[in-house]
């Protein structure tokens, strides 16, 4: 019992140290690029957006982003725990949430979902074993993927209802 707690603390410390390292390097990257005189287009990928009305969205301020993002990830963690526990075929599943990263290992060949906070660009990133990676922006209180205009809850609803043996309802969280 003691041992597991000890290792958990160690891992947490490790995570913190790694995150410090990352933030330091990113500032050097910034400087380097300034020297090369690159012009940056934030969210460049939105150029390929099919919904042009979403292309010019200003960055949501941190005070708005952080609580909504935290609430979203915590809600998802709880709901994933609930539905996975209720599913008899997902016996090897493992769900963990720590420091803005939610990892849902479904096991049984269903793959792993990773949903994480991406504070610098005010996004939530999702990695799906079915449909690959997506970046969600907070638009009118909803997490929207700018490429196709589909919300995160919609995507999770569509994918998880195929995996789970019982009905799921992710859309209840979409306000």
């Amino acid at each position: 019992m003691n041992i597991t707690r000890h290792s958990r603390v160690l891992i947490r410390n490790l995570r913190y140290l790694t995150s410090c390292k990352i933030s330091r390097t990113s500032s050097t990257i910034l400087k380097y690029y300034k020297n090369e005189e690159f012009v940056f287009v934030r969210n460049f990928s939105s150029v390929f957006s099919k919904s042009p009305e979403y292309t010019e969205v200003p960055l949501v301020d941190l005070a708005t982003f952080e609580p909504i993002c935290a609430e979203t990830l915590e809600t998802l963690t709880e709901y994933f725990e609930e539905i996975v526990e209720a599913d008899e075929k997902l016996v090897n599943a493992d769900i963990s949430y720590s420091d803005g990263v939610l990892t849902v290992k479904l096991g049984n060949g269903y793959g792993t979902y990773v949903i994480n906070r991406q504070t610098p660009n005010r996004q939530i990133w999702l990695s799906s074993p079915k449909s690959g990676p997506k970046r969600y922006d907070l638009i009118d209180g909803k997490w929207i993927y700018k490429h196709d205009g589909v919300s995160m809850y919609q995507l999770l609803q569509e994918e998880l209802e195929q995996i789970m043996s019982k009905p799921v309802d992710f859309l209840q969280f979409a306000k």
Binding site: I29, F44, V47, N116
Partner: protein, 150 residues
């Protein structure tokens, strides 16, 4: 009891000291010997430049293509600041798009890249960035081909 704990801590420390072992060998290969690093003249009419990512999150990818008269990509260069997977993804796509037509290049999917490099779920975003970089470079090239006088 304390002996067991000592062993466990040692084990943890060992994992901590060699994080590099977590990358797949295909990623390491491209990371340690990146292909086609460099620049092409971005003012050249036959060069398309794609710049994607955000410096604030630490991932920036620049991909350039040089296209001949037949619409074939004859050269590709990249410069990437980011994690090992991002560097490997861009290195890999420069290899793939060389000698390909514009249509063939645009059909490269992030899933192809992720599969080749055996990227774990959390790193799929890097392969998406590489796909975006190709698309941006192709779009820039196509934009340059439209006559400006109209």
């Amino acid at each position: 009891m304390s002996l067991v704990r000592g062993k466990l801590l040692l084990g943890l420390r060992r994992i901590q000291s060699v994080p590099v072992a977590l990358y797949h060998e295909n990623v390491l290969d491209h990371y340690e010997n990146p292909r086609n690093v460099g620049n092409l003249d971005k003012k050249d009419k036959n060069v398309g430049t794609g710049l994607v990512g955000a410096p604030s999150c630490g991932d920036v990818m620049k991909l350039q293509i040089k296209v001949d008269e037949d619409g074939k990509i004859i050269d590709a260069k990249f410069k990437t600041f980011g994690c090992g997977s991002a560097i490997a993804s861009s290195s890999l796509v420069t290899e793939w798009i060389k000698g390909k037509s514009l249509d063939q290049a645009s059909s490269i999917k992030n899933t192809d890249i992720a599969k080749e490099l055996c990227l774990p779920p959390v790193k799929l975003h890097c392969s998406m960035l590489a796909e975006d970089a190709i698309k941006a470079a192709l779009a820039d090239y196509k934009k340059k081909q439209i006559p400006k006088d109209g």
